[in-house]
Symmetry: C2
Subunit: 251 residues, 2 copies
């Protein structure tokens, strides 16, 4: 049992309209690791957002009254707060330095997932892709079209966690595989039937990918995971990984 | 950038007193992948607990009055509840089917981390190791002693999460490396200084390992991660990954 995590090197700076699938196929060919059937491609949301034009130049943002007030309370840039509020459907928690929202797609994360790092332009920020599952699906479709290769795809972002410190990479978009592997009813080594075992494999794949993505100072924005036998599915959505409101357990 | 996740195959059923380091060195030799300097060894807590004798036969447990009452409310086996309460310092959440505790080591998890699966004996359960960091340290020391090899070690368990569904593998014990990689002050590709970037690498390594551990029906209870440049540290503790009470953000 051997699984590889391969960072995708040598990608250009991604700009609006770029064909991510073509660029990644080419980069993997150049590094002598052509993409294969069954690979999982994990894409940082920031390059997906940049390719899709989901960026905002803060210097063009006029903060509203309410953004100004919340910015003062949280100690954040009012223009950033304006963008964060515009991309949210509800606020989960506000405190000095903290602004956790539910995005209109349904994710619960800091600052609606709006990111400053790895975005060119002094005051440009990246939003989450409009439909991260759709972005993952479009990437797979394009890879199939260009190279005849069938892959699974994940759009990832780093998130804080409830009762654990530090951030981990998680899946905010997914296509082509079951994001949760439900093992209830399977038996362990000793014949015991598993009663509680629903593994969030999409998040584990995203976390594994960040060992290559996050580690590199050369700016590796994507990775492939090779040798993991995912369960194919055409109906997968990363939103299955978000607990419905009121179902939060660890609070 | 290439990182490998290698499942450790062919281990015997682990019993109390077994020398895990010796068995793992031997298993890796047999599968043609001898352990190397810089590998991260990720051990399922269940084999560590079994080797340390941290198991309880429920048929020997006499539930107390309070365990009987909570068992009725949660719908759990009263003897299991007795064991869970005995291994906790506080209860975080109780509901039908749900019993989330703070263990006396400081972890917040379902059933104090007490596990039925992959434990031989019809009614035998595994507790968390008494000192999972110490178990990881002892494993590293023994590997050094037997083979002169310097590794990092993680004791892992699968945990549920606050606002995300499904379980992921996390580190409950760690030794030899910084469990959080603090990147604040580093600069991104475009010169932007990272303000919030503390990556829980120990949890990402544990999650990556479960892609090999959890996938195998052959009962792979441990994996190595090769090619990840961890930051060496002799003072690491997996408890750094647990947010102090009152600091929970995503609630």
């Amino acid at each position: 049992m051997r699984i590889e995590i391969i960072g995708i090197e040598g990608l250009p700076i991604i700009e609006e309209g770029d064909d991510l699938a073509a660029l990644i196929l080419e980069a993997l060919n150049s590094q002598g690791n052509p993409l294969r059937n069954g690979d999982v491609v994990v894409l940082s949301h920031v390059i997906v957002s940049r390719a899709e034009g989901r960026t905002v130049d803060l210097s063009s943002v006029e903060p509203s009254e309410i953004a100004l007030r919340y910015a003062e309370f949280t100690g954040k840039d009012p223009r950033l707060v304006e963008v964060v509020l515009s991309d949210s459907r509800a606020i989960r928690r506000m405190a000095p330095g903290v602004l956790i929202t539910e995005t209109w797609q349904g994710f619960v994360c800091a600052n609606s997932g709006v990111d400053k790092s790895n975005v060119p332009g002094e005051e440009v920020v990246a939003l989450l892709p409009e439909d991260p599952d759709g972005s993952a699906r479009a990437f797979r479709d394009r890879v199939r079209e260009l190279a005849g290769i069938e892959v699974a795809a994940i759009v990832c972002d780093t998130h804080g966690r409830g009762h654990r410190d530090g951030e981990v990479n998680v899946a905010v978009g997914a296509s082509g595989f079951n994001v949760i592997r439900d093992r209830r009813g399977e038996h362990d080594l000793f014949g015991y039937e598993l009663k509680v075992k629903r593994t969030a494999v999409a998040d584990e794949l995203a976390a594994a990918a960040e060992l290559a993505i996050g580690q590199a100072d050369e700016g590796i924005p994507a990775a492939i995971i090779r040798g993991y036998a995912y369960e194919p599915s055409e109906s997968a959505s990363a939103l299955e990984l978000v607990r419905p409101r009121g179902m939060d357990l660890f609070i």
